[in-house]
Symmetry: C2
Subunit: 432 residues, 2 copies
């Protein structure tokens, strides 16, 4: 199908939802993707762009060219336009695109891009409905019907004071149920969560999730209402937040499914290099006991078991801790209790697995001393794993370092070093 | 503060948002928690319950007792009542609570609980606004104002045909902007995504995220409108979905931060036991080469490096694959291409780290043969890791097994076995 016939492609694509077209573009290979974009260029739906994976979008934008891309920016809502323009990393290219936009939209985009990335200001839409609290329901509905410049879709009406500061909000369902002469101040909810324009998007997501918000007002430094954040944008942030932690724990900077091979190799390299460092450190520890190993080669056979069990038990604790820090369930208030709990779990699991591996090793090598040594090392390493698994992310978080990014390397270092040292060290003392 | 003075506690808690009180309850220790619930029992806000972690909620419900818990179920919305009632696992206890409810609510809950867990039917609210398409905007607003039994909050008006099947929906913002004589069919969006009552909640979340929905109609087997799913419930599902995958990759059945030590030990035990199996398997492979190790003890020192690097590289690929399967970015259509890409990445990384580790090992032990052997083993294991990291989740997914739960064990088995076998095997052939 993709071979030649552009008209057929356009016909096939026409009835699809823009999100489905985005998914379709993502599944295509690079060449097919370019050919597809060329085919549908004339009928390209701007809404497709925000839905695409970063690497794929960059290819599509390149294929569209500056002119068509600028046209797309004009079509989408202001928050999406800001997001898309922010994706162009080359300053000159971005200037070229912005120059093709109407002055007003250009100013909005430039202002927003001046704000820190991942802030509420980047996420917000400027289009909103704000009215004073002394208006009646009737006046408000007439205003909405007047076709004044309003957003395409809105979920709430923001109530502002004379200085344009938000004082409350009225849900549309409440507005529709009230009679025309009722004043807005009577039906408004005065407890509006305000979002400072510089608030980090993860904080915004936390607030939305915690309070089940649909949209919330964004205010500038002087408290004036300048925009609104809506739940559909927050859904994307929430989704990315857990995903990011998951990726970082595995040493990935971001989802790279659609990136080119070279970019992927580069992005994964650093983590692997760090792990090589850890592995070499573990080898150095083993090297201390070369003579012990020479004497009892069974130790070399068994030694990965202790390190591997510690690593796995530690990763369980670490994953819980990283996620709990992200969702603010783990705080200074309960940290001590959770640390105690994880150490207790490490001790119990250590005892259970000490008996198991000790028995297996005894039978395997017919030497009870080896069984006792591996059991004791298992207990030590499981307790160390539990302690490190919870303490490392807590300390990193206190030092304002993202625990998801770096905890894993530290943890493996601890469980490898403690595991090999305890096992081989105990063996050197008690078996030789 | 918590010592005695219940009145003060109530006073301090009174101005807080229910979500904040829920967070507060979570951070308390078990004893303080019980004391806190007893203190605020008389003024307990039912909205707190859905916000709590499962283990914490069970404690709070126990402390509240059947009578007060039943009162809470009457206060919350029907979807929350279904969810809360579903959390009581003991059938008799649940029957006792349900018996205290009005017949209508009891019927709703019992019907919903008969549906599979994690289905749209469990997630939906029964309260909704549904009107025929021939109504005008004016009639609709008058109906809403009439105070007919309507949900507390609604985001859309569902348009139904005479057999109560959904044919479209009208956004409240569109309703508010239209003039009174306009018929709903003129402003309705006919492309409504319908959700079958048995649809899995992850599918529901995918649909909401893909199409940026606020609420969607739920239909029964005959296509009749029976409820609606709203975005605030879906936000929780989306949040849990990525979190679940993250936890499962680490061998956790669920977040157990607030569980008792014994429960946590039990839930983590199975995974650790599986990993012990893998570790023993790796040891058996090493055992094959005891004589080689006895001859060249340097091999024992270096051998964890190859296995560990393969494990880490494989985990990177695995994490990407598991997440991409969950978000439907990795499909049959692009699987072959992605497998090829991951193998290529494994090969490139393998070459780079082969040179690095080879050089380090040569210098360390002054033996070029060891350097060559470890380098060759590194390339073999990195390619195997890339291939296994993508192929294992793909195969499990094809077999309808959740790849997040079980991929990790298989992957470690592959990278350990291949790593040790390649390194020691090559050494046995070329160094001895």
């Amino acid at each position: 199908l993709e071979a030649e016939d552009d008209a057929t492609v356009r016909e096939l694509v026409a009835p699809l939802h823009y999100a489905d077209i985005a998914d379709l573009i993502e599944t295509l290979g690079s060449e097919d993707r370019a050919r597809f974009v060329r085919a549908v260029k004339s009928v390209f739906n701007a809404e497709i762009l925000p839905e695409l994976d970063d690497a794929v979008r960059a290819e599509v934008i390149e294929e569209l060219g500056f002119e068509d891309f600028a046209a797309c920016l004009r079509e989408v809502e202001s928050d999406d336009a800001v997001y898309l323009a922010g994706q162009i990393e080359d300053e000159d290219e971005r200037a070229t695109v912005l120059a093709k936009l109407p002055a007003e939209l250009r100013a909005v985009i430039e202002q927003a891009l001046a704000l820190p990335e991942f802030s509420a200001g980047r996420l917000m839409q400027r289009e909103l409905v704000a009215v004073p609290s002394y208006w009646t329901v009737g006046e408000t509905i007439d205003y909405l019907r007047s076709g004044a410049r309003l957003p395409d879709e809105f979920y709430q009406i923001f109530i502002v004071d004379p200085r344009h500061r938000p004082v409350g909000n009225v849900r549309l369902s409440a507005l529709l149920r009230a009679r025309r002469p009722v004043r807005l101040r009577e039906i408004m909810d005065p407890k509006t969560a305000e979002i400072p324009i510089t608030m980090d998007q993860e904080e915004v997501a936390f607030l939305f999730r915690q309070q089940n918000l649909l949209s919330a007002p964004v205010v500038d430094a002087s408290g004036r209402l300048v925009g609104r954040v809506t739940v559909d944008d927050v859904v994307d942030v929430i989704d990315e937040e857990a995903e990011d932690d998951m990726f970082r724990l595995a040493g990935l900077s971001e989802g790279d499914l659609f990136s080119a091979v070279v970019d992927t190799v580069k992005s994964r390299f650093t983590w692997l290099l760090l792990n090589l460092g850890t592995a070499v450190l573990a080898s150095l520890v083993i090297g201390l006991f070369e003579s012990t190993l020479e004497a009892v080669v069974a130790l070399a056979v068994l030694m990965p078991i202790v390190a591997s069990m510690g690593g796995n038990a530690g990763t369980q604790t670490l994953t819980i801790a990283v996620r709990a820090l992200a969702t603010k369930e783990l705080t200074a208030a309960n940290a001590t209790r959770i640390v105690g709990k994880e150490v207790a779990i490490g001790l119990i699991n250590g005892l259970v697995f000490a008996v198991l591996t000790g028995a297996v090793s005894w039978v395997w090598f017919g030497n009870p001393a080896i069984g006792v040594v591996i059991g004791a090392a298992m207990i030590i390493n499981m307790v160390a794993a539990g302690l490190a698994g919870i303490a490392i992310p807590l300390v990193l978080d206190r030092l304002k370092v993202d625990p998801a990014v770096s905890s894993g390397v530290f943890l493996t270092t601890v469980t490898d070093v403690v595991g090999f040292f305890a096992f081989l060290g105990l063996a050197a003392v008690f078996i030789l």
